[in-house]
């Protein structure tokens, strides 16, 4: 049963030809599948901006605390180490680890006890890192880590070969496109949140569900929301957010 779910995850992450394929959506899916298959509480992804910075791109959920925990690793933490060395990092007990005191304190404040960092690699170039976070101390099995790394490898190739990858510098075009997509999706979340009086976290759920249900690309739908395009009028209509946590 587990093997079948793992196999399904590989197919899902490798299928870039599927209608509505979107790099940012795929990275979110990667975090969700890893958390699910490895039975951990959270996962997140940081990508390098090629200017010396790391950006939180995707996470299992949109809680501000989780996103901030991911982002702070730009300065200090397992993901920065992974990005710099290209090698995985494991910390089975944050209470006793001394490598990243500030990150460990922040992660523990969020309830996490163990953390793993895995590189997102293309050939010998590291383009970012995935974080696996667990609320129980103790190690993931070597097999579990290998599964997560293999899923990350497949997803990385999918993200970067969205168009033909011929030269190393083409990674710049791909990565910058993906980084900009994330910003665009944040803007669309803001538009939807203000429009429907939702939190930005709920706005993302709504945006993604809409794109999925219509087999549409997440970035394209986000663009249409910002442009108030007629083809997403339904998403901006008063009845578009049933079951969402309406504010006020």
């Amino acid at each position: 049963m587990l093997e079948q779910r793992i196999a399904q995850a590989f197919v899902e992450l490798a299928d870039t030809l599927v209608a509505g394929f979107d790099a940012i959506d795929l990275l979110h899916t990667l975090t969700e599948r890893c958390a699910d298959l490895l039975e951990i509480e959270a996962a997140g992804i940081l990508l390098a901006d090629q200017r010396g910075g790391l950006h939180a791109m995707a996470a299992t959920d949109q809680r501000v605390q989780l996103l901030e925990l991911l982002q702070r690793q730009e300065h200090d933490g397992p993901c920065l180490d992974v990005y710099r060395t290209g090698r995985p990092v494991a910390c089975t007990d944050l209470a006793t680890d001394r490598r990243w005191p500030a990150f460990a304190a922040a992660a523990r404040a969020c309830g996490f006890s163990a953390v793993y960092g895995l590189p997102l690699r293309l050939r010998d170039q590291t383009i970012g890192a995935m974080n696996l976070l667990s609320t129980t101390p103790g190690g993931l099995s070597a097999e579990a880590v290998a599964i997560a790394q293999a899923l990350a490898d497949v997803a990385t190739i999918s993200v970067l070969t969205e168009r033909v990858l011929q030269q190393q510098t083409t990674i710049t075009e791909q990565l910058q496109g993906a980084l900009n997509s994330r910003v665009l999706i944040e803007q669309a979340k803001g538009v939807l949140a203000a429009h429907h009086r939702l939190t930005v976290a709920d706005a993302f759920v709504l945006l993604r569900a809409f794109a999925r249900s219509r087999n549409r690309n997440l970035t394209e739908v986000a663009t249409a929301v910002i442009d108030r395009a007629p083809d997403i009028a339904e998403l901006l209509s008063p009845g578009a957010s049933p079951g969402q946590t309406t504010q006020r």
Binding site: A42, D49, Q50, R51, G52, G53, H55, A56, D61, Q62, R63, V64, Q65, L66, L67, Q71, E74, C110, G111, F112, Q167, Q168, T169, T170, T172, E173, Q174, Q176, G177, N180, S181, R182, V183, L184, I185, E186, Q187, A188, K189, G190, V191, L192, A193, A194, H195, H196, R197, L198, T199, V200, A201, D202, A222, T223, I226, D227, T245, Q247, R248
Partner: protein, 258 residues
């Protein structure tokens, strides 16, 4: 990178401006020509605002005339367009009018970087070289930082005629748009709904607010953005609590604490 641009301004005895971004680009990237082109929000026109080098003037004019080229494509696709060899097969088919003319003028490589943050797009930074070849990794990183600086400069100029929006060019630093925190982008989207404007105007209003009420650095921009996202600050003229407002000071969402 900010230091390299500032050095250009200092040696000329001028305040930092786009021209210094272009000069820094020529120096750091071994470019024969650089140009910054602006996309008008209102007309969709694409026009040069700063060009360095005679070759740059001609190439810019051709791109605007033909309506095609690496810069036009970069804006259409929201990503850099890197062309290490304009004479390579296929490149001529991509831009059938521009490429032969560019080659005739002596250009052999072109690198165009869109000046944008998400859907907020204001123009391109274009680098032209007379020898074919890729930018090194270091040069690519420099080019991306120069594009960030050009975006900030261009936005500072864009609404300068409107007094209440006029800001010193580096009021929020050249990296304002590469702000790591998503709240700035979320708030820009929210303010665009509250004001009924496009993202550029929404962002400029948000930044103007941060400038007027804070220390005019990136930190206050983020604080203003967080206030918008949390519903503590609204740009809506409606005196009622703003859309997106929530009771309580919590910084998060409705999701439970971790």
């Amino acid at each position: 990178m900010a230091a390299a641009i500032a050095a250009q301004a200092r040696s000329a005895g001028e305040p930092v401006a786009l021209v210094h971004v272009c000069r820094a680009a020529v120096e750091l990237l071994s470019a024969a020509a650089t140009g910054v082109l602006m996309l008008s929000d209102y007309s969709g026109a694409y026009e040069p605002v700063q060009v360095h080098g005679l070759l740059g003037e001609k190439l810019t004019e051709l791109q605007v005339t033909y309506g095609e080229g690496p810069g036009v494509t970069a804006l259409a696709q929201d990503r850099p367009v890197l062309v290490p060899d304009l004479a390579a097969g296929g490149t001529g088919r991509r831009w059938p009018m521009l490429v032969p003319a560019a080659l005739q003028l002596g250009a052999r490589a072109a690198f165009a970087f869109p000046l944008l943050a998400g859907r907020l797009a204001v123009g391109t930074l274009e680098i032209w070289r007379e020898t074919p070849g890729w930018l090194s990794d270091e040069q690519a990183a420099d080019a991306l930082l120069l594009a960030d600086a050009a975006l900030t400069q261009l936005l500072a100029q864009l609404h300068a005629p409107q007094q209440h929006l006029a800001l010193p060019p580096y009021a929020d630093g050249p990296e304002a748009f590469m702000d790591r925190w998503p709240q700035v982008h979320q708030a820009t989207g929210m303010v665009s709904v509250q004001l009924g404007t496009n993202l550029t105007t929404a962002f400029l209003r948000l930044r103007a607010h941060a400038f007027a009420h804070g220390t005019a650095n990136g930190h206050s921009l983020r604080q203003a953005a967080e206030a918008v996202v949390d519903g503590r600050l609204s740009f809506a003229s409606d005196p009622d609590p703003p859309p997106g407002a929530r009771p309580g000071p919590g910084p998060g969402g409705t999701a439970p604490d971790l």
